[in-house]
Every structure is written in structure tokens, then in C-alpha cells.
């Protein structure tokens, strides 16, 4: 992976120098980054259309992902993965305990909702701050070691937080049952609830669950307030991550990854940089945690379990560690598979293979069945292994390779530059 980074670094350098010309910079982004950012903005804003390509009631409708709950998860876990990528993609430090920050952020967020107000702004701000502080403590200790030791230390901290949240800290975390806002909570900034009303998360009165549905022909598009709030936050987070990637600070982090020893020979200590990256990525995780709370107003300790930490690693690697857009793609793909693939059952399979003779139909169903429904984790594991083995750069590298095949005829040099980076 090291030589790859160097290649990335060298290919990024001319792009960065050309981007310093004031005429080409828009919002502090070079032309290429601006195009990428613009694309992401358009895609996220139009997501309710794009993710609902199949008409209601058709056989393909089950592949529609344009319902609010799933779209919110896309962007929230996108944020989580973007943050993880700032640590792993740039510095190469593999944290196996990132879900702890997400969980801590969630708990902080829900307490703001219980104590202050159901408005999501304080919840999200406090989530980020608390997760950042927690990351500072964990990072300060864990970053004293590197490599596998660092992974184990972060894993140990995360498992500790999980166990504590599950058992001893029950008064604060709600233990097994978790937490949700109750009618009787103080909420000192909100007025008293009307009789019979339940507390709902809102943004200055705009309820997160609110939205309107638009029917065009057979298509039904849902525009959900919560999704757009989360999407705007995600776009800001994405913009910040581009700026971090292109900043001198980002270059320092890449230097940490490619050769720490050489970095210290130049008289620079890598530690403050890695710690800063760790805290930033912890804050991203806290932001994701706060948003999760803002969307479904409940928290449970299982959010911090180490498999959740493993999931964000999967997302980042699957999409492409060290690339800008990769983690978002990975998060989207995994959440899509989790929600859509796991819904398919045997009856649906029988419908699909209906056209085959009976024996073949049953054979095909028997062959495909282990990989869908409850078995979607198996598919995930296999895809993940294939990606790690054959495409260490993730889906983005795959896309570049395919793009390279098409470009080869025109311009050999053009295929070398990386579209995402």
C-alpha cells in the first residue's frame, strides 16, 4: 500500500500546484475537486429521485432505496466513513474501535434531547464535542504505540466502553434497554408538551420525520426533512474532508503513512499530526452518532460493539481507503446491501427464476439463497475479501482501472491521474 500512496502523493502534487492559481480556485477547491464536490451535491440532493428508479408495485420496486430511513443511513454512515478515512486513509493507523466515538456521541446527543430541547442543533454540537474529547483521551494513550498494537489498544478501549455502557453505567446509558426521550423529561428550553403529544426531534419546529410525497405516474418520491438535514451536514463534512486532504496538514498525514522514520529525521514529530487526525476522525464519528440520534431518537449500547467498528473499516476499504469519495460509496453499498439484500426471501427468488424449468428453478434458488436474506453477511464477507485481495484500492481503484481501459487509446498519461484524488 505504501508505494501506492507515494504514487497518489506524486500525482496529487502537480494537481495541487496547478490549483494554487487563484483563477482556477472556487471555494478553495481546485477544478477537479470542485467537479467532484458539485457531483456529490447534485447526487445527494437528487437522491430521492435517483434511488427510486423503479415504479411502485413493479417487481423491481424492492430494489428502491429511496425511503427516508435508508437514505438517512446512507449519508450518516457516509460521514462516519469519511471521518474514519481521515485517520486510516491518510495516516495508515487502523483503528478497530471507532464505533465507541459514534456511541459516545449518540449518548451525548440523546442527553441533550432529554435535558435541553428536542431541537437537533444542540444535540449534534454536543455529540461532536464530547466525542472529540473522548477521542483526545483515547488517542493520546493509543497513539503511543503503532501498527497492530494501536489496533488492539483502540479495540480494547471500544470494548471497554461497550461493556461499561452495557453494565455499570446503566444510570447514564440505559443499559440493555438504551435511551429514548420521554414525555416526563425536563427539556428546560422547550415549552411543556401538549397533552398526548410525544417529543419529536425537530429543527426549529421542522420535524425530522416530516416530509412530503410526490406522485408522478407510478413513481412515488419521498422528500424527508431529516434526510435533507443529514445530507447538508454530510456535504459540509465532505467539503471539510476535501480541504483536509488538500491542505499541508493532509500532506503531513500522508507523510506519516509513507514513512514515519524519514519524517522524524526531518525534525518533525509525527505525533501531534496523528493525534489531530485521530481527534478529527473521532469528531466525525460523534457527528454521525449525533445525527443518528437526531433521526431516530434512540440509543443502545450495541452501537458501540466492536462489530460496528469493523463495519466502518469494511465501508472504508470497500470504497477505497485514502480516496475522497470511496468511503461514501462503501458506506452506501454496505447499507444498501444490509437493507435491500436482506429483504429478499425464497418466494421472491422463485419469482425471479420462474422462467426456468422446475428442476433448474429449485436448483438456482438453492444456489442463490445462502447469499441473500439472512445470509447477506456472507455476501458481504466474500465481496470484502475479494476487494482486499484483488483491489486494495477499493471500488474507486476498480472504477479507475475500468476508466483507464477506455482512455488508453486516446491518452496514455491521462489514465494515470486519479479522478477522485
Amino acid at each position: 500500500m505504501t508505494d501506492q500512496t507515494e504514487q497518489h502523493a506524486t500525482s496529487a502534487a502537480p494537481a495541487a500546484s496547478s490549483a494554487t492559481k487563484p483563477s482556477t480556485k472556487v471555494l478553495g477547491l481546485g477544478p477537479k475537486d470542485f467537479k467532484l464536490m458539485f457531483l456529490v451535491v447534485v447526487l445527494t440532493m437528487a437522491a430521492p429521485f435517483l434511488l427510486n428508479p423503479f415504479p411502485e408495485g413493479s417487481a423491481m420496486a424492492q430494489f428502491n432505496a429511496g425511503y427516508p430511513d435508508l437514505m438517512q443511513r446512507f449519508v450518516i454512515f457516509g460521514i462516519f466513513a469519511i471521518g474514519f478515512n481521515i485517520l486510516f486513509g491518510l495516516t495508515g493507523y487502523l483503528s478497530f474501535g471507532h464505533a465507541a466515538f459514534l456511541g459516545v456521541g449518540s449518548y451525548a446527543g440523546i442527553w441533550m434531547m432529554k435535558l435541553l430541547t428536542m431541537n437537533v442543533i444542540p444535540a449534534i454540537v454536543v455529540s461532536v464535542a464530547v466525542a472529540g474529547l473522548f477521542a483526545l483521551v483515547v488517542g493520546y494513550i493509543s497513539l503511543r504505540r503503532s501498527g497492530i498494537y494501536f489496533s488492539i489498544l483502540t479495540l480494547a478501549f471500544a470494548q471497554m466502553s461497550y461493556s461499561l455502557a452495557y453494565s455499570v453505567l446503566t444510570p447514564i446509558t440505559g443499559g440493555e434497554t438504551g435511551l429514548q426521550p420521554k414525555v416526563a423529561d425536563p427539556r428546560i428550553l422547550d415549552g411543556a408538551l401538549e397533552a398526548g403529544a410525544s417529543p419529536r426531534a425537530n429543527l426549529f419546529g421542522l420535524e425530522m420525520g416530516a416530509g412530503f410525497e410526490w406522485e408522478v405516474g407510478n413513481w412515488l418520491f419521498t422528500f424527508n426533512a431529516g434526510y435533507y438535514v443529514a445530507a447538508v451536514v454530510m456535504l459540509v463534512a465532505f467539503y471539510l474532508s476535501i480541504r483536509i486532504f488538500r491542505s499541508p496538514f493532509g500532506m503531513m498525514l500522508r507523510a506519516v503513512k509513507s514513512n514515519q522514520q524519514r519524517l522524524s529525521y526531518t525534525g518533525l514529530s509525527p505525533k501531534p499530526y496523528t493525534l489531530a487526525a485521530f481527534v478529527i476522525s473521532g469528531m466525525y464519528a460523534g457527528l454521525a452518532g449525533g445525527l443518528l440520534v437526531a433521526m431516530d431518537t434512540q440509543v443502545g449500547a450495541e452501537r458501540m460493539f466492536w462489530t460496528a467498528s469493523g463495519e466502518v473499516v469494511l465501508m472504508t476499504i470497500l470504497g477505497g481507503a485514502g480516496t475522497l469519495i470511496g468511503p461514501v460509496l462503501g458506506a452506501g453499498l454496505i447499507k444498501y446491501m444490509e437493507n435491500i439484500l436482506s429483504k429478499i426471501n425464497k418466494d421472491i427468488l422463485h419469482e425471479w427464476f420462474f422462467f426456468l424449468p422446475d428442476g433448474f428453478e429449485n436448483l438456482m434458488v438453492a444456489l442463490v439463497y445462502p447469499f441473500i436474506g439472512k445470509g447477506w453477511h456472507l455476501t458481504l464477507g466474500i465481496i470484502f475479501m475479494l476487494v482486499v485481495i484483488f483491489l486494495p484500492g477499493g471500488l474507486v481503484e476498480g472504477g479507475q482501472k475500468i476508466a483507464g481501459l477506455f482512455k488508453r487509446g486516446k491518452d496514455a498519461d491521462a489514465s494515470k491521474t486519479t479522478p477522485a484524488e
Binding site: 473499516v313 445462502p370 453477511h377 456472507l378 464477507g381 470484502f384 485481495i389
Partner: protein, 343 residues
């Protein structure tokens, strides 16, 4: 005194499992330099070897028993295991009863083959890649193994009892000369500890007293030089991977009566075993074994009610706390070798 002995005993069985898994992890790390996140899955596969064998042994066919009738007056159909047909009722019963210990014979070849296939088929290609990639690919493999087992055996724990002779508890207090009735301890856990000690002893003896083991130890110290002497060290390391897999598998087989196996038991043990390896010192076999037992016993002591009254929940986090303290004060772990995993 009785309470202390009881806690030490309580710690020993979990400690044995930690020690066995951690030893396997260390063997793989010390020889091949690979961090194997799928090792917990191997433990789990071992446990399911025991489940499989006990299912095979109890395979039965229906026989109509004309002497008895069911409540409707029809002749009663009873399931008769094939084992009865082949070995007679008494021997058949004994074989079914001893399914778990018998699984050892079944699990060793299965696990060795699996380990060798895993190393040759997958991990071989990852020696030159960074540690992060090795962690990731073995993590992916662990998910796949876990899901395959889940597909065939379902998500629920499958109770697999120990042989009748070991299923009860014994009064350790009386045996050790203390007051009777103070230290009641399940016999199977004692068996597990003795078994673990024997396996650990065998592995150490194998490494210490055979030529093969000597070459492997030399390879662990300096792989290149051993290769230059014209010895095919890769082949030996592959076999060591198989042995490490077998050790993990055996730990799983014998653990089934203590905890009913389910598909994610390996992951739960893996996280703790990694902590054990790191505490013991990366690449040090005695360190892994020592740390395994030590952490098992410490965990048992932290679960004492007297301790939990003062510091509630300590038993949940004590292992991680110890690990953090040790890593920060003795970065190489308790018995770590110099120059291993130091970037």
C-alpha cells in the same frame, strides 16, 4: 482461603481457552509474521466439529417396535441410532456419550487440513502486504467462515453435553483437605484445564525436542539465514500454521460442554485472545500462555462479589484495563522479544 482457591479454579478454565488460542495466534505470528483475525473462527469451527460428530453419531433410522404401542394403539416407532446397529446398545451408548472427547480425533485432521489450505490458498499471498491488509483479509475470512457455519447450523447455540462421567461437579475442597462443601467445581472444567496443559506441553515439547521444531525455532529467529542454509522453511511454517489451527480447533472442541457453541463464539474469544497475545508479548509463546492464565485468573478475581461491591462492572473491563496499563508501561508485553513488531 477457600474463596481464593475457588476463584483461581474459576479463572483456570477460561484462562486455558485464552492460552490455547493465544498460543496459536503467537505461533502464526512468530513463524509467518501474519496477524490472523480468523483464529477465533478456527476455534469456532473446532467447536462445530464436535457438534458435527455428535450429530453423525446420533444419526438414526426408524424401527417399529411391535412389543409396545403408542396412545392410539399403533405399533410404536422408535429412532435407533446406527451406532446401536453396529456396536450394540451398550457400546453405542458409550460412543454417543463420549462424542465430545471423540471429536478430538475428528477435529485434528480437519483443522490441520483447513489451516494448511488457508495458508497456501490465501495467507501466502499476503506476506509482502502491510499488516493492515493481513488483518483485513483474515477479518473478511472470519466473517465468511462464521456465516457458512450459521447457514448450516443455524444461529442458536447448540448444547453439546460432556460425557456422563464428567458432567457432574466434584467437591474440590474435600479433595484438597479443606472443609467439605466449600469448593464445588464442575469436573469438566478441570478436565479442560488438564487437557489444555497437555496440549501446551506437547506443542512446547515438539518445538523444543524435535529436529523439526528446532528448524522452526531457528526460522522464527532468522528466517533468511535458515533459508540460505538450503532448508525449505516455508513448508515447515505452513505445517506450523496447520498445527496452530489444530490447537485452536481442539480448544473449541473441548470448550463445547462449557459454553454451547454458536456461530459468533469465536469472535468473542478472539478479541480477548488478541489482548492476551499483546499482554504476553507479540511472538513469545511462553508469554502468551502465561498471560492467558494470568488474565483468566485476574478476570475471575474481579468477578468476586466483594470486589464488585466496591467497583461495579470491574469484571467486564479488567482485562482491557490490564492490557492498557501493560502496553503503556511495558510496550513489548510481559515477555516480548526485542525487534518483533517494532516499527
Amino acid at each position: 482461603m477457600e474463596a481464593i482457591i475457588l476463584q483461581i479454579l474459576n479463572g483456570l478454565d477460561k484462562g486455558s481457552a485464552y492460552a490455547l488460542i493465544a498460543m496459536g495466534l503467537t505461533l502464526i505470528f512468530g513463524t509467518l509474521g501474519v496477524v490472523n483475525f480468523a483464529h477465533g473462527a478456527l476455534f469456532m469451527v473446532g467447536a462445530f466439529c464436535a457438534v458435527t460428530l455428535s450429530r453423525i453419531l446420533t444419526l438414526s433410522h426408524e424401527v417399529v417396535d411391535p412389543t409396545r404401542t403408542d396412545f392410539l394403539g399403533n405399533p410404536l416407532k422408535i429412532d435407533v441410532p446406527y451406532a446401536y446397529d453396529w456396536f450394540g446398545q451398550a457400546t453405542g451408548d458409550a460412543i454417543i456419550d463420549w462424542a465430545v472427547p471423540l471429536s478430538i480425533l475428528f477435529a485434528v485432521p480437519v483443522m490441520i487440513i483447513m489451516g494448511v489450505v488457508m495458508e497456501r490458498g490465501l495467507i501466502k499471498h499476503f506476506y509482502k502486504r502491510p499488516h493492515a491488509d493481513q488483518i483485513l483479509v483474515t477479518f473478511g475470512l472470519a466473517i465468511v467462515l462464521q456465516e457458512v457455519i450459521k447457514y448450516f447450523y443455524g444461529a442458536n447455540p447448540i448444547p453439546t453435553p460432556a460425557p456422563q462421567a464428567f458432567a457432574s461437579s466434584m467437591d474440590m475442597g474435600a479433595a484438597l483437605g479443606f472443609e467439605a462443601g466449600q469448593i464445588i467445581y464442575p469436573i469438566w472444567r478441570l478436565v479442560y484445564f488438564v487437557f489444555a496443559a497437555i496440549v501446551i506441553g506437547c506443542v512446547f515439547a515438539f518445538l523444543q525436542f524435535t529436529t523439526f521444531g528446532m528448524v522452526v525455532r531457528a526460522g522464527m529467529a532468522d528466517r533468511e539465514t535458515v533459508g540460505l542454509l538450503g532448508i525449505n522453511i516455508d513448508k515447515r511454517f505452513t505445517i506450523m500454521f496447520g498445527i496452530a489451527a489444530a490447537v485452536a480447533g481442539l480448544a473449541g472442541v473441548m470448550y463445547t460442554p462449557i459454553t454451547s457453541p454458536n456461530y459468533h463464539m469465536g469472535m468473542d474469544f478472539l478479541v480477548l485472545s488478541f489482548v492476551v497475545v499483546v499482554v504476553g508479548g507479540m511472538g513469545s509463546l511462553p508469554g502468551a500462555v502465561l498471560a492467558g492464565f494470568l488474565l483468566g485468573v485476574i478476570e475471575a478475581f474481579a468477578s468476586l462479589p466483594q470486589v464488585l461491591d466496591v467497583l461495579p462492572g470491574l469484571n467486564q473491563i479488567i482485562i482491557f484495563l490490564v492490557a492498557i496499563v501493560i502496553l503503556l508501561t511495558r510496550p513489548r508485553g510481559l515477555m516480548g522479544r526485542k525487534g518483533v513488531m517494532e516499527e
